[in-house]
């Protein structure tokens, strides 16, 4: 029963936003959906498995560019190009994971940071394919039957439909033996090995899933905006994704949305502060680390625990 509260509340909230007909709110909602999809993957990788990725924007960028290039240059059906983008994101993440998970800690962080920067540089410099810093426009829109999905309203439904399905799936996944395995690896790799879990295999699997979801989100973003450039896929984007996972209490499921709403709303509010916005963002990142439960996720936990009045599992604690 309790497990149904969060999804139902989220869906009711989304329906409310959609019915309100407020264009600004719906636009923000689409942005939230686009952040949610890669955050789910990162929730598995960083939240559950505790493997840091400072270059996650790279996979989102790869998804966006694969979708744009395959549909523009090769005339591939847009839906199929979204699928291709997802697969490419997953494949790249798999390859990267195979290489990178030989490293850990600081070295892993720097290597993923370098990966993000390398991909960004390639997108800027490889003009003949990516269009360079000016970016590239998407010619073919995403169409369902006769409905053009470029509008905010249509995209709101599509984005949140996908996001909710993925949230349900990841919620199930983290309760499955696979998800529990991820958590064991995150807590202690030696313990994981001792009970027959291969830490590296699980890390690579989590990386592959998260890369695929990042690619999917990138493709959807590209079709929604109809135009992509390398600029949005920077380190700050990767950091925002990490902040979302941290604020959502390092979970891979519905509580992520707390982080998503917080980060998106904060980014909106901070626009009013002009040059102070990055400072406030940095302070938030520090504060989120110093208060490990993630303030809002933690409050949610306390609320739930006080209702259940049981010693539930203390999730969301970063050792």
């Amino acid at each position: 029963m309790n497990r149904a509260i969060a999804p139902v509340a989220v869906v009711l909230g989304l329906v409310g936003i959609y019915l309100s007909g407020n264009d600004y709110l719906i636009n923000l909602g689409v942005v939230c959906a686009i952040y949610t999809i890669p955050a789910i993957g990162l929730g598995l990788l960083f939240g559950r498995c505790r493997q840091i990725s400072l270059g996650h924007a790279a996979f989102v960028a790869i998804g966006a560019y694969v979708a744009a290039i395959t549909s523009n240059e090769y005339g591939i059906d847009p839906w199929f190009s979204v699928l291709l983008a997802t697969l490419t994101g997953g494949l790249c993440a798999w390859a990267v994971g195979k290489l990178m998970f030989r490293l850990s800690g600081h070295h892993l962080a720097m290597a993923t940071l370098a990966l993000g920067m390398i991909v960004h540089t390639v997108l800027v410099e490889w003009r003949s394919v990516t269009g360079g810093p000016d970016g590239t426009a998407l010619i073919n829109p995403l169409v369902l039957g006769s409905v053009d999905l470029m509008s905010d309203r249509a995209f709101f439904l599509l984005g949140w439909g996908v996001a909710c399905l993925l949230l349900l799936a990841s919620d199930n996944l983290i309760r499955s033996p696979f998800g529990l395995g991820l958590r064991v690896v995150g807590e202690s790799e030696s313990v994981a090995s001792s009970i027959g879990i291969k830490p590296n295999a699980l890390k690579v699997a989590a990386m592959t899933i998260s890369g695929g979801l990042a690619g999917l989100s990138g493709a959807l973003y590209a079709y929604w905006l109809g135009y992509i450039s390398p600029d949005p896929f920077n380190v700050a984007f990767s950091l925002k994704l990490l902040l979302i996972v941290a604020l959502g209490g390092y979970s891979g499921s519905w509580r992520l949305l707390v982080g998503v709403f917080f980060v998106v709303v904060i980014s909106e509010v901070l626009k009013a502060f002009g040059r102070w916005d990055t400072i406030i963002f940095g302070l938030l990142l520090i504060a989120a680390m110093l208060y490990p439960q993630g303030w809002l996720g933690g409050m949610f936990d306390q609320f739930r625990q006080s209702r259940q009045a049981t010693a539930g599992d203390k999730r969301g604690e970063l050792n």
Binding site: I52, M117, E125, T278, L285, I286, L290
Partner: protein
């Protein structure tokens, strides 16, 4: 041949700066096990603070000393407020120091804007010739200061009591604390020194390369790569790695193309991470899981 020497000197200059930044990383890493991702910001802040002091009419030396001390004190504050509470948690340490660097860059934009600031060269004479090779006077300042600083640091760590307590903390902070060494203060000292060294690097390179709010980030990444090349946690390796990286970059941009400069640095990072993550001088076992 003249081109060769010209490139050699510019490579050495850049290499010295990378080496100093790398030593800054090492100083913090050894006593706290934290990789300070905000290391490059010390150089940026040092240079910008000094430039501002000079515009207020203070002498270059006084401004530089003030800049170095301010950055050092700022680093102590950052350590106390943001880094000490998370203890040995690597992931949190990384994200917090990244947060610090975001905040410092943002502050620099608010205080100085996005325009580059210039420092005057340290000596009146701009250039002089050795044979057909033109050497900027500032290049000598950079190399001289770096070598002196590195040598002084070496003497400090090996010959003085404080230096020895510092090394004791680097080996094992808990045991050092049991021996009566104030480990908390040594942590602070580590951050102060790394901030000061970073600031010096920023100040001496500023007359040759303009400094602006985001210059520090690039320096920080190069310094980290130098650490990986030389062996993380080894100050001698850090200096060596810095010089090596500087020379490689200079020769790559001199003989191949200038666009290759950053590619070389990242390539070196990946090669060393995957083939020899312990660096040239470091121990492999330390980084291997």
């Amino acid at each position: 041949m003249d081109t060769f020497f010209q490139i050699l000197i510019s490579g050495l200059v850049v290499g010295c700066i990378y080496g100093l930044v790398a030593i800054g990383f090492t100083t913090v890493y050894n006593v706290t096990n934290v990789v300070n991702f905000a290391q490059g910001e010390s150089s940026m802040l040092g240079a910008l603070l000094t430039a501002t002091m000079i515009t207020f009419g203070f002498s270059l030396l006084l401004s530089a000393v003030c800049g170095i001390l301010l950055v050092g004190v700022l680093n102590i504050l950052v350590e106390r407020v943001a880094i000490r509470p998370v203890g040995k948690n690597i992931t949190k340490g990384i994200l917090i120091t990244i947060g610090v660097s975001v905040v410092l860059q943002g502050l620099a934009v608010v205080l100085w804007g996005t325009n580059a600031q210039a420092l005057p060269t340290f000596s009146q004479q701009q250039n002089f010739n050795i044979g057909n090779v033109v050497v900027a006077s500032q290049a000598l300042w950079v190399i001289g200061t770096s070598v002196t600083l590195m040598g002084g640091l070496y003497l400090f760590l090996t010959r003085t009591y404080l230096g020895r307590t510092f090394r004791a903390c680097a080996m094992n902070p808990d045991t050092a604390a049991l021996m009566g060494i104030p480990a908390g203060m040594i942590r602070g000292l580590g951050f102060f020194m790394s901030g000061g060294i970073g600031a010096i690097a920023g100040i001496i390179i500023a007359p040759m390369a303009l400094m602006q709010y985001d210059s520090g980030a690039a320096l920080g990444i190069k310094g980290f790569i130098a650490c990986i090349i030389g062996g993380f946690g080894n100050p001698v390796g850090a200096a060596l790695g810095g010089v090596l990286l500087g020379l490689l970059e200079a020769f790559a941009s001199g003989y191949i193309s200038s666009g290759m400069k950053n590619a070389i640095a990242f390539l070196m990072l990946l090669v060393f991470l995957f083939i020899r993550p312990g660096g040239i001088l470091g121990e492999f076992d330390k980084v291997k899981r």
